[in-house]
C-alpha cells in the first residue's frame, strides 16, 4: 500500500439538477432522463444502469416531455418546439416549431407512426413521423384550456387528453372529442374555485382510463361509457405522474410527498375473474416531488426534485436477496467533472454553466485524512452563449484549459505565476483562432506533455491538434476501423505514444498502434494506459477489470487470472461504476480506482481474494501484527474513509487529491419539501 498526503476537498459545489421527465425504451432497455437544466441523459438498464450518454441542455430550453419512437428520441418543451436528438453525436438533430404555444406533453402511438403533442392553446397536434423528420398532419378539435397530458389507446384509435378540470377522449380518426370526463375539484386543500389539473392520464387496452390530478386523487374511469369507477385519494397534495406496467396489471403514481403508490389489477376472490384496481404498496424513496416515473417489467424507476434516480425492483418479480433485488440510487454522474493538472497542482471543476479553477494549497498535516487544502486562488470561467458545457480539460502543466459546448470549443492559455499572492486571480488568454475541425466535441484531453489536445468527434473519430504559444493547429484525425457511437473516454499515455479511447458501444481503441482491444459486453467506465508497462487497464460497467498488454496485444496473465477466478461478490454488488483509473509511479504494481463510495488500490502482487475471504478487511488489518497482516491481505484494498467521491487523483508530488461532495450539502440546497405532519413532532 503506501502512505499519501491527502488533500480533502469539499468545496466543489456540484449541484445535480432536478429530474423533470423520463421515458423508457423497452426494446433497447435504455432509460432517458431529462433534467431541469435541459440535459438529457441515457442510462443503459441492460448494462448495470450505466449512464452512457449525456446531451447537455441550453438556457431557456426546459424539456417537458420525452418520447421514444423506435430508436429515435423526441422531446418537447415550453419553448414550443419538438426536438429530435442525434444520439450518435450527442446533440439535437433538428427542431420543429409546433405553433401551439408551449408544449406540455408529447406521446406516440404504439405503431410509431404518429406523434401527438398537447399544447397550451388547447390543441392536440398530430405529427407524422417520417424517416428523417416529423411533419405536421392535423389538429384534433380545439379545446378551451391547455392540454396537460396525453395517452394513446394501444390500438391507436383513441387518445385521451388530460386538461384543466376534465379529461377528453378523442377519436384519432375523425379528430372529434367523443367523451368529456369531469374531474372533481379538490375538497381539502383549496377552495372550490381553484381548478384541478389532470397531471397525468393512462389509457389501457380494456378502455380503462386512469388519471392523476392536482387534488391528490387517482381516478379510474370507464372509457367506453365515460363514467367514474373508483376514486383513490392518495395525498393532500398533487399526484404528478402515472406509469403503467407493460402488462397493464399494475399502475404507479408519484405524489408531491415523495411517495410512489402502486395500484394492482387484482381479482377480489381467488377463483373469480372480475378484477379491480386495488391500492397496494407505497414506496417512499424521495424527499421531494416525484416528477417522473417509469414502470418496467421488474422495477419502479422514479425521479424528482431531489435529483436522485431511484430504481426499486418489485420483489414479486425478481428473485429475493440477489443483486437484482437491491434498490439503487443514482445521485452523481458517471463521468468525471474534475480535471487535475498533475504538475501544477491545479483543479478544474466543471459546472453546467461555468468552470472553476482552484490551486491546491499547502497541506498542513501528514496523516492520511487530516490534511486539508487551503484555498489559495481561484478562477471562474464563465461560458459563452446559451449552451451548457459538456466537457472540459486542463493540461497537466496547467498552462492550457479547454472546454466544449454542443456547438463550439474554447481554448485558454493560463498565465501561471507561482509567486502571486493568494488574492490575485490567475490571468487567462483566449486562443481565438481554432481549427474548424474542432466544432463538435464530446470529450477533451491533453497529452501528458501538454503539447497536444485530443478531442473526440463524430463517428468515434479523434481529432489531434497541437497547442503552442497561443496557437492551435490541426494535426490529423484518428478514425477507428469501426464504430458509430460517441467516444466518452480519452486516455493518452504518459509517454505520449498512445491514446486509448472508449466509446459507448463498448469498443476500446488504442491509436498510434491502431489496435483495438477485444470488446467485452459491458461498456467501459474508465480506461488508462500504464506509464511503464504499457498495458491498458479498463474497468467496465459490470465491474470487471481487464488489463491488456499493448506490446503483446493480448490480455496480461494477471488479467486472465482475475477473469478465471472471478471478482469477489461484494465487489460486484457495488452499484456505482469506477470512474477513474490512475497509477502510482512509485509503485508500478498499484492501480488506483474509485467510485462514489470508495477508493481502492489494487495490488497486482498480492493474491486475489477468494469468494469466501472477507473483502472489506482494511480496518481489521490495521490492528493485526505484520505477519498476520500479510497473510490476510488480498489484492483489493478498499478504503471507505471518504464518501460521495467525485474525484481521486494522484498528483506529481504523490499527494492524493480527494474531492468529496457530501449529500447533506446537496440536500440543504434543495427547495423545501411539502409540509407533512410527522408523528411525535
Amino acid at each position: 500500500m503506501g502512505e499519501f498526503k491527502v488533500h480533502r476537498i469539499r468545496f466543489f459545489n456540484h449541484m445535480p439538477s432536478a429530474i423533470r421527465v423520463m421515458a423508457f425504451n423497452s426494446h433497447t432497455e435504455r432509460l432517458v432522463v431529462a433534467r431541469a437544466d435541459g440535459a438529457v441523459e441515457i442510462f443503459n438498464f441492460a448494462d448495470n444502469y450505466y449512464q452512457e450518454k449525456v446531451i447537455p441542455g441550453r438556457d431557456g430550453k426546459a424539456v417537458e416531455a420525452l418520447c421514444w419512437v423506435g430508436r429515435r428520441l423526441f422531446s418537447a418543451g415550453l419553448d414550443g418546439e419538438i426536438t429530435e436528438y442525434d444520439l450518435e453525436n450527442l446533440r439535437p438533430r433538428n427542431s420543429m416549431e409546433a405553433y401551439g404555444g408551449p408544449i406540455w406533453t408529447i406521446s406516440s402511438n404504439s405503431q410509431g407512426t404518429l406523434l401527438a403533442a398537447g399544447c397550451e392553446d388547447g390543441t392536440v397536434k398530430m405529427f407524422e413521423v417520417l424517416e428523417d423528420r416529423i411533419q405536421f398532419q392535423r389538429n384534433l378539435s380545439r379545446q378551451k384550456g391547455r392540454i396537460i397530458s396525453l395517452s394513446w389507446h394501444p390500438t391507436g384509435s383513441q387518445i385521451a387528453a388530460g386538461m384543466l378540470d376534465m379529461i377528453k377522449i378523442f377519436d384519432a380518426e375523425t379528430g372529434h372529442a367523443t367523451h368529456r370526463l369531469l374531474v372533481e375539484r379538490g375538497l381539502q386543500r383549496t377552495s372550490n374555485s381553484q381548478e384541478v389539473v389532470v397531471w397525468s392520464v393512462a389509457f389501457l387496452s380494456d378502455h380503462t382510463i386512469i388519471s392523476g390530478d392536482s387534488a391528490g386523487k387517482v381516478q379510474i374511469w370507464d372509457g367506453i361509457t365515460g363514467t367514474l369507477v373508483r376514486t383513490h385519494l392518495l395525498t393532500k397534495w398533487d399526484v404528478l405522474v402515472l406509469a403503467v406496467s407493460p402488462d397493464e396489471s399494475s399502475v404507479i403514481a408519484g405524489t408531491s410527498e415523495g411517495t410512489v403508490v402502486q395500484f394492482q389489477f387484482i381479482s377480489s376472490t381467488v377463483d373469480q375473474q372480475d378484477k379491480q384496481w386495488v391500492r397496494t404498496r407505497t414506496f417512499k424513496s424521495h424527499s421531494h416531488d416525484v416528477r417522473a416515473l417509469v414502470h418496467t417489467d421488474t422495477a419502479v424507476v422514479s425521479g424528482g426534485v431531489d435529483t436522485q434516480l431511484v430504481v426499486r425492483p418489485l420483489l414479486d418479480k425478481v428473485e429475493k436477496n440477489t443483486q437484482e433485488s437491491a434498490m439503487r440510487k443514482i445521485i452523481f454522474p458517471h463521468r468525471n467533472l474534475v480535471s487535475c493538472a498533475k504538475k501544477a497542482g491545479l483543479l478544474l471543476f466543471q459546472f453546467s454553466d461555468h468552470l472553476e479553477l482552484w490551486r491546491l494549497g499547502e497541506s498542513d498535516g501528514n496523516g492520511e485524512t487530516r490534511a486539508h487544502t487551503r484555498l489559495t486562488s481561484n478562477l471562474r470561467v464563465g461560458r459563452f452563449g446559451e449552451d451548457n458545457i459538456c466537457c472540459s480539460a486542463l493540461s497537466p502543466c496547467g498552462g492550457w484549459l479547454a472546454y466544449a459546448t454542443v456547438s463550439s470549443v474554447r481554448l485558454y492559455r493560463l498565465q501561471l505565476d507561482n509567486n502571486i499572492t493568494p488574492l490575485v486571480p490567475l490571468s487567462r488568454l483566449q486562443v481565438s483562432k481554432l481549427p474548424k475541425e474542432l466544432n463538435s466535441v464530446h470529450q477533451l484531453s491533453f497529452s501528458s506533455d501538454s503539447s497536444k489536445l485530443f478531442a473526440s468527434s463524430i463517428l468515434s473519430s479523434v481529432i489531434v491538434a497541437s497547442v503552442k504559444e497561443l496557437e492551435c493547429k490541426y494535426l490529423h484525425t484518428f478514425k477507428p476501423p469501426s464504430g458509430e457511437q460517441p467516444v466518452h473516454l480519452l486516455s493518452p499515455s504518459e509517454d505520449g505514444n498512445w491514446l486509448a479511447t472508449a466509446n459507448t458501444g463498448g469498443e476500446i481503441h488504442v491509436f498510434d498502434l491502431h489496435c483495438s482491444v477485444p470488446v467485452c459486453g459491458s461498456c467501459p467506465t474508465a480506461v488508462s494506459i500504464h506509464p511503464f508497462s504499457c498495458s491498458l487497464v479498463s474497468v467496465h460497467a459490470d465491474q470487471q477489470i481487464f488489463e491488456f498488454s499493448l506490446k503483446q496485444k493480448e490480455f496480461t496473465a494477471w488479467s486472465r487470472k482475475l477473469q478465471k477466478q472471478g471478482m469477489h461478490p461484494l465487489w460486484l454488488q457495488r452499484d456505482a461504476p469506477i470512474t477513474r483509473v490512475t497509477f502510482n509511479p512509485n509503485n508500478p504494481t498499484h492501480i488506483l480506482l474509485h467510485d462514489t463510495s470508495m477508493f481502492c488500490i489494487v495490488d497486482q502482487i498480492l493474491p486475489l481474494p477468494e469468494e469466501k475471504t472477507r473483502f472489506y478487511n482494511q480496518s481489521v488489518l490495521q490492528s493485526l501484527s505484520l505477519g498476520e497482516r500479510l497473510r490476510n491481505s488480498h489484492a483489493f484494498k478498499v478504503y471507505r474513509n471518504f464518501q460521495n467521491l467525485l474525484c481521486v487523483d494522484l498528483m506529481e508530488d504523490h499527494s492524493l487529491v480527494v474531492v468529496e461532495r457530501p449529500l447533506l450539502d446537496i440536500v440543504s440546497q434543495l427547495p423545501a419539501p411539502v409540509q407533512q405532519k410527522k408523528f411525535a413532532t
Partner: protein
C-alpha cells in the same frame, strides 16, 4: 392437626375476563367470555353476569359460537376437553374429551361438526411447538364423548388465538407465526407459505394478529411496529401483494373485520379503537380514550355491537363505533398491589390499586368492580417505559370518612416525588373528595401509614423518620437511632403506637409523643406488628425475618411467648380476638388462625394455595353466621380474603354458607326474554304484583296446575321428546274439561 372438612378455599372471582376474545351472541344480547375455569355469560345491555358456565377443570382458553346452532357455544380448556353449552339456560350439553391441552378453538360453517384446535406438538416436549388439528366431533347422544379422530392441518402455529383465522366462510385458513405467514386452501388441500420480510432480524415486522375479509380474498395482518398490512393475490407463490396502513405507534394487538367486510377494526396499546374503511383506507374513524390498552376486538354477528377487551380486565361494549354502551369491569390487576388489601369501612368494599393512578373499590359480595377513585388526577400516558405517578399507600380511618393516600414517582435522574393526599367522604355525592394535599411529606419513601383509631382526632401516621400528622399538620418527627422504620400499628383505643425500627420495637404515646418503652426482640428485622383486639388488647404481636413470632404483654412489658414460624403475613380481625398468620414454605402457604391468649390454634390449613400469599384482609360480615362448630367459629363475624402472587383472590367458605348460596341460585329461574339481573328481579316482582291486581279479571288464568305444561315449559329443550309426541298431550292439557265449565257457569 385437625382436619376441617367443612371449610374450604374458594376461588373468589377477580379472574381475568380479558384473557381471550369474547363472543357476542347472534342476537347481540349476551356476551360470553372465558374467565378462569369457567365461561361467564354477561348481558350486553345491563353488564350483569347472567350465567357462569362451570365444569372445566383447567383454564378456559377459548369460547366459540357453534356455527350450526347459534344458541350453543363451544369452550375449550387446558384440561383437554371441548365442551358444548347451551348458554341461554347455562346447561352443559356435551363434553368431548380430546386428551391434549387445547389452547384455542376455531370452526366454520363449511366444516360441519369439525372444530379446529391448537395443541402442543407431543413429540417434542422441550420446545414450545404448536399445531392446528381438526377434530371430528362424534354425533352421539352421550354426555361424555371421546373425540379421538384428530388430523393435523398446520404445523408450527402460534398458541396465540389471534394468529389464526378462517377466510371467506371457511374456504381457506390463514395463520401467522413470527415472520411467517401460511395460507391453507381446503378445497385444493394446498398451502402457501410466505416469508415476506427478508431483513435479518426483522424484529419490527413480526406478525401479531390476523383477520380475514368475510367476502374477498384479503387477509389483514397486524405487526409489531404498528403497521397493518392487507394481503391480496396470495394464491400465487410469488405475485402476492400487500398494502400498508399505518396509524398505530406500537404493536397492533387485535384486528377484526365487520361481518359485511365494509370496515376493519384495529386496536393496540394506544387504547384507541380505529375503524378503517375497507378499500378507502385513508378514511378512518377513531374512538379514543377507552381507558387501557386494547387486547381484543370483536364484532357481533349482526355488526351492531363491537366489544373491546382491555388490559385492565375490562370489556367495553360499543354501539356502532360511536358510543360506549356498557362496560364490564373485572378486578383490575395492576403490576403490583402496593397498597395491600383494604376494606372500606363504609361500603365494605375491598380497596386496592386499580388502574394506574387509581384506587379501585371492589364489591366482594357481588364480585363486581364498584368504581375507581382517581387519586393521581393526571392523564395516564400509554407509553412503555415512562415513569408516572403511582399510588403506593392508602389507609382508611375507622369510620370510613377519611382516606389517606400516598403517591410517588421515581425517575432515574430526578429525586423521588411524593404526595400525601387526604380525602373526606362527601355524603351528597357519595364519594371521596380531595381535602388536603401535602407535597413531599417525607424525604424518602414512605414505608407504612396508618390512622389512629381514636375517634376525636384525625391522625395519620406516616413512618419514615416518623412524622405524625394530626389534623393535617406535622405534629412530631420521631427517630430512633437513625434506623429505618418498617411497620407501625396503633392499638385499638388509639392510646399506643408501636413502631418497628428494623430490629427494635418501640412503643410511643400518641398524645404526648414520648417514647414509652422499647421491647426486646430476638435478632431479625421486624416484619409485621399488630396489637391484639378486644380481650387480648394487652398483647402486641410481631414477626421478624428470622422465622420468629413474638407476643409481648404490654402490661408487664415482657415477652409472653414466642414461637419459631416463618410468618410472611400477620393480621388481626377487628371484630374478634383472632389473628391470622400466613407461613410460606416450599412454594405453598400455610394458614394458622389463633388467639394471642391461647396456645392452640383455632384453625390451621396446610397449603391453602400454591405460591406466596401477598396480601390478606379480614372483612366483616354483614350477616353473622350461626356456626357452632369450633373450627369454623372464626369465620362467623368476618371473612378472610387473600391475594396470591398470581393475583387470584381467594377466600374461605363453610359448608353452610355454600348450601345457602346454592339454594339462592336455584331460585333464579331464567326467563328467556329478559336478562336476569337483580334489578330485573326487583322490577319484575313489582310488575307482577301490578299485573296481578289489574288484569287478573280479563286474562283467563292458564291451567298452571297442569303437570304436562309445567313439565313442558320447565324442562330444557334438548331433553324433551319429539314435538309431535308432545303435541297431543299438550293440546289436551289446555282443554278445559266440560264438567268444570259447567260448574263455573
Amino acid at each position: 392437626m385437625v382436619e376441617y372438612g367443612d371449610i374450604r378455599v374458594v376461588y373468589r372471582g377477580g379472574s381475568k375476563i380479558n384473557f381471550r376474545k369474547p363472543v357476542i351472541s347472534n342476537d347481540s344480547r349476551f356476551l360470553l367470555c372465558a374467565s378462569g375455569e369457567s365461561v361467564k355469560v354477561f348481558s350486553s345491555v345491563t353488564e350483569e353476569c347472567v350465567h357462569e358456565l362451570r365444569g372445566h377443570t383447567g383454564q378456559v382458553t377459548g369460547v366459540l359460537l357453534r356455527p350450526s346452532n347459534h344458541l350453543q357455544v363451544y369452550s375449550c380448556s387446558t384440561d383437554g376437553t371441548v365442551r358444548l353449552w347451551d348458554f341461554t339456560d347455562g346447561i352443559l350439553v356435551r363434553t368431548y374429551v380430546v386428551g391434549y391441552p387445547v389452547y384455542s378453538i376455531y370452526a366454520s360453517l363449511n366444516h360441519k361438526e369439525v372444530v379446529f384446535i391448537v395443541t402442543p406438538v407431543q413429540s417434542d416436549k422441550r420446545t414450545e411447538l404448536f399445531q392446528l388439528v381438526a377434530v371430528n366431533l362424534p354425533q352421539t347422544p352421550d354426555q361424555l364423548v371421546e373425540a379421538r379422530d384428530l388430523s393435523a392441518v398446520l404445523s408450527d402455529v402460534s398458541s396465540n388465538p389471534s394468529t389464526i383465522a378462517f377466510g371467506r366462510g371457511g374456504e381457506y385458513l390463514a395463520s401467522v407465526n413470527n415472520l411467517k405467514m401460511e395460507i391453507y386452501f381446503f378445497k385444493k388441500n394446498k398451502s402457501y407459505r410466505f416469508e415476506p420480510f427478508y431483513t435479518k432480524n426483522g424484529g419490527k415486522n413480526t406478525f401479531t394478529c390476523i383477520a380475514c375479509h368475510p367476502k374477498d380474498d384479503c387477509v389483514a395482518t397486524g405487526h409489531d411496529d404498528g403497521k397493518i398490512r392487507l394481503w391480496r393475490n396470495f394464491k400465487q407463490k410469488k405475485e402476492y401483494t400487500y398494502s400498508t396502513l399505518h396509524w398505530h405507534h406500537s404493536a397492533v394487538s387485535s384486528l377484526c373485520f365487520t361481518p359485511e367486510g365494509t370496515n376493519l377494526l384495529s386496536g393496540g396499546v394506544e387504547s384507541v379503537l380505529v375503524q378503517w374503511r375497507y378499500n378507502q383506507e385513508n378514511q378512518k374513524d377513531f374512538l379514543p380514550r377507552l381507558g387501557a390498552a386494547i387486547t381484543h376486538v370483536t364484532v357481533s354477528p349482526d355488526g351492531a355491537l363491537f366489544s373491546t377487551s382491555h388490559s385492565d380486565n375490562k370489556i367495553t361494549i360499543i354501539q356502532s363505533c360511536v358510543k360506549v354502551s356498557a362496560v364490564i369491569q373485572g378486578l383490575v390487576k395492576g403490576e403490583n398491589v402496593t397498597t395491600g388489601l383494604l376494606v372500606d369501612p363504609r361500603s365494605k368494599a375491598l380497596v386496592l390499586n386499580g388502574r394506574p393512578g387509581h384506587l379501585q373499590f371492589y364489591s366482594l359480595q357481588r364480585d363486581k368492580l364498584l368504581f375507581h377513585l382517581d387519586i393521581v388526577q393526571q392523564e395516564y400516558i400509554h407509553e412503555a417505559g415512562l415513569e408516572q405517578f403511582e399510588v403506593v399507600r392508602a389507609a382508611f380511618d375507622a369510620s370510613g370518612l377519611w382516606l389517606a393516600t400516598v403517591e410517588e414517582r421515581k425517575q432515574k435522574s430526578a429525586e423521588l416525588e411524593l404526595n400525601l393526599k387526604l380525602w373526606s367522604f362527601d355524603e351528597q355525592t357519595q364519594s371521596f373528595v380531595l381535602n388536603t394535599t401535602v407535597s413531599a411529606p417525607h424525604e424518602a419513601r414512605i414505608t407504612a401509614m396508618c390512622f389512629s383509631q381514636a375517634a376525636d382526632s384525625q391522625t395519620t401516621t406516616l413512618v419514615f423518620n416518623l412524622n405524625f400528622w394530626p389534623s393535617w399538620s406535622c405534629d412530631f418527627v420521631g427517630a430512633y437511632h437513625g434506623l429505618v422504620p418498617r411497620c407501625c400499628c396503633f392499638s385499638a383505643d388509639g392510646s399506643l403506637l408501636a413502631v418497628g425500627f428494623q430490629e427494635v420495637v418501640t412503643v410511643w404515646n400518641p398524645t404526648s409523643w414520648e417514647l414509652l418503652t422499647t421491647l426486646s426482640q430476638p435478632p431479625g428485622d421486624v416484619r409485621n406488628l399488630c396489637f391484639g383486639q378486644l380481650s387480648c388488647s394487652k398483647y402486641l404481636l410481631g414477626s421478624n425475618n428470622k422465622k420468629m413470632v413474638c407476643c409481648w404483654n404490654l402490661l408487664t412489658c415482657s415477652l409472653e411467648w414466642s414461637t419459631s414460624m416463618d410468618v410472611s403475613l400477620l393480621l388481626v380481625d377487628s371484630r374478634s380476638e383472632n389473628m391470622a398468620a400466613f407461613c410460606c414454605q416450599d412454594g405453598s402457604t400455610d394458614l394458622f388462625v389463633f388467639k394471642p391468649s391461647e396456645p392452640r390454634p383455632l384453625f390451621s390449613q396446610k397449603a391453602v394455595c400454591s405460591g406466596r400469599v401477598i396480601h390478606a384482609v379480614f372483612t366483616p360480615r354483614e350477616v353473622m353466621l350461626e356456626s357452632s362448630e369450633e373450627s369454623s367459629q372464626w369465620l362467623n363475624r368476618s371473612q378472610l380474603y387473600f391475594l396470591t402472587e398470581f393475583m387470584d383472590l381467594l377466600t374461605f367458605s363453610t359448608k353452610a354458607e355454600e348450601e345457602k348460596l346454592m339454594a339462592s341460585s336455584k331460585q333464579l329461574v331464567i326467563d328467556d326474554t329478559v336478562a336476569m339481573t337483580p334489578f330485573y328481579l326487583l322490577l319484575g316482582k313489582h310488575r307482577h304484583e301490578h299485573l296481578g291486581n289489574e288484569e287478573s279479571a280479563e286474562r283467563t288464568p292458564l291451567p298452571q296446575s297442569s303437570v304436562a305444561i309445567k313439565e313442558l315449559l320447565q324442562t330444557p329443550a334438548h331433553v324433551l321428546p319429539a314435538t309431535s309426541f308432545l303435541c297431543s298431550m299438550f293440546a289436551k292439557s289446555l282443554l278445559i274439561s266440560v264438567t268444570e265449565t259447567r260448574s263455573v257457569t
